[in-house]
Amino acid sequence: MKRKEGQVRDHTLSAYAVVWCRDFRLQAVKRRSGRGLPVALVDDTQRQSIVLCCNALAARSGVEPGIPTVQALARCPLLKVERPSEAAELAAGRSLLETALSWVPGIEETGPGILTLDLATQPPAQWQESAFRLRDRLFFLGLEVVIGLGETPALARLAAQAALHGGVEVWHLRPEERLEKLDQLPLIIAETGSGLNEKLRLWGLQTLGAFARLRREDIASRLGDEGVELWLRLTGRLRRPLRLAKLEQLFEEHHDFEYDLHEREPLLFILQRFIETLVGRVAQTGRAATAVHFLLSFADGSCHAKRLSLPEPSLDSEVLFRLVSGHLESFEMKAAVVALRLRFEPSDPVASQKNLFGAGLRNRHQYEETLKRLRKIVGSDRIGSPRSVDSHRPGLFEDAPLPAELGEGGGRASGPPVTGPTLRRYPAGFRTRVQVRDGIPLRVESSRISGVVINVSGPWKSGGDWWHHGQHWERIEWDVELLNHGLFRLVETGRGWVLEGYYD
C-alpha cells in the first residue's frame, strides 16, 4: 500500500512532552506574591518603566505588555508590580526541573520555563494522566504550566503552543489524528517568521493542517528551507536528540550566612534540612547518593572541602546525616563559617541478587561506621578478617576486608581438616632454657612457665624462604605436655629455644 504524503513513517511509540510555563519570569516572582492578585513584571532599567508581562487578572483590567507602568497602575490600581529576579527564576527553574523528574529522567531545558521531556520510558496509556498530575504538582508549587504531547519534540512544542492558545492544560497531538488537529491550528502557532506567515496567508492557507497537506517538492521550490523545515516539523519528520539537562546542579544546596557562625549546632540544623531536600531530589531521579561533597567557607578566606564517600549508594537521610555530622565533629573550625555547600554525587542504587541461602551484612553503613570507630580505638591496622598468606612460615596472616556477602556456609568448612586444640601464641615467644636428653626436651624453664616435660611429640622440622636472600628460616617444633601446666609448643631455632605458645 502506498503511504500517503505527510504520514509518519516511524510508527515506534516515541513521544515527547513540552512543559511550558507561560510568562516564566513573571511566574517566578509571582510565586511569592500569591494567587488572586493582578501582577505585572516591569522593566525599571529604561528611562521609563514599562510593563514586560502581566497575569490574566491584570490583563482583564487593561494592563498589557509594553505600556508604561504608570499607565498600568492607572488602569489597575490593585496591580502588584514586580521586578525580574534572577534568583527567583533560578529557584523556579529548579522546581520545574525537579518536579518534572518525578515523571521521566530524560529532560531537556529547552528555554526559560520550557522543558522537553522524553516519554519513551513511559507507557502510552499513562502519558495524559501523568501530564495532568505534573501540571497539578507544579500548580501547587505556584507554577502554572501547559503541557503539549507529540511524537517529536517539535510536535510536542506545537501541542504546547496550541494548549496555550486554546486555554487548555494538556494538548495531545496523536499521530493518527495529527492532520485533523493541525487543521484547527492557525499558522501563528508554528512560531515561524512573519514573512512566511504573510506569504502563506496570501496563498490562502489558514491552518497548519492545510500547509502539512502540501507536497514537499512544491514547498521546497517556492518557500525554500524555511518552508521545508516547517513542513518537516508538521509531518513529524523533523527529529532531534534532546540535550539532556545536567542534573548535578539539582543535587547541590548552599547557604550563605548573613552573620559569622561559630557554633556547630546551627550548621547541623541546616545540614539536616539540606540532606532531606537533596534526598528527595535524588530519589526522584531513581538514583542514590554515592558520596557527599561538603564545603565550608570561613571568614578568614580559607575553606574546608571533603568528599565523604559511602560504602554503597544510599538515600537514607539518617545515614547521610551521620556521615556529614560525624565529619563536621572531626575537625576544628578555626574561624567563623560564612557559607556552607553540600552536593550529592548520584549513582545507580545497588541492586543485587542475594544468595538464596547466603547471608550478608544487614546494614553496611552501620558496619562502616563501626569500623571507623573501632579504628579510632585500636588503630587502623588491627582490624580485618584473617586470611592466610602464601607462605609456610607459621603464624603469618593478613587482614582482609570482611566480605559483604557470605556464600552458603551450611556444608563443611573449607580449608584443612581440623584436629587438635588451637594454638595461642605468646606475643614474642619466650626465650627458654630447655634441658635435653638424647635430643628430647626434659625440662623447660622460662620467665613465664617452668616445668617438667611429661609427654612430648616431635621433632617437627620445617623451613622455607631459602630462595629469598636473608629471609631463610628453619625451625624444629616440639609439642610438650608440662606437668600441672598444660600443652605447649617449643621451638628450636638457630638462636636457641623459644616457648612459642600454648594449646587451648
Partner: protein, 230 residues
Amino acid sequence: MPVTGAAKIDALESLRKQLGRQIKSGTELLQEREQKGICLVTGLDGLDETPGGGLPRGQLTEIIGRGPSRGLGVVMAALLARARGEGRYVMLLDVGAGFSIESFPEGDLESLLRVGCDSAKQAVEALDVATRDENFHLFLLDGRDCEPSDWKSVRTQQWYRILNQLRQREAVAVLFARSEVTGATKHRLEVVSRLALGDLHQERLVILSRTQFQPVRHFTEEKAGALRAG
C-alpha cells in the same frame, strides 16, 4: 514517714495497673525468654546442656579456664564454625597478638572480623562500640592472656552498657578468661576438663564431646573487685 514494704508493693501494683502491660516483673520476663527460646544453641553438648540450653541472647557469658590447655580455644573455634554455618558474622576482640590462623579452618574465618586489642580495657571499649552494630550477632572477647588485675581498669558502668546493648540486639557476647571478670555477668561457666598430648591429633568433635562445663555461681561485683585487688 517511713514507707513500709506492704505499702511499696501496693504502690507498685497500682502503678502496674495504671501502666497496663507496659511493665513486667522479672519473673514474667524470665518466663517470656524461656518461652521464646532466647538462647543461642551452640551445638556443643556441654554448653547446650547447661541451664537455659546454650548461650543466652542479650547476655554476656564468661567461659573460664583456669590455666592453659583447658580447651577454651576449641570452644571458640566451634562457635566460629557454627556461626559460619549459619551465615552470621562474628567479631573477635583479641587481647594480645596470640591469634594463630592455622588453628582454624579457612572457611570458618570468612565471617570473622578480628579486632586486635592491646589491653582488656581497650577490648571492652571496642566491645562497647561493636555491640551497637546490628551486623554481628556473636561477640567473642578473648581475654585468655589477661591477668585478673587487667580487668580492674574497666568501669562497671561500661559492662552494664554493653549488656544493655546486647539486650537490645539480642546478641551474644562470650568472654574467654582465666578467672571471673565482672559481676555484670549472669551466666558463667568454667571448663574443668584438661587437654592431654594425645588430643593434639584428636578430632575436635571428640575433644569437644569430652569438654566439661560447670556453672560458676554467686560471683558478685564485690567479689570481682576483691579478686582484682587481691
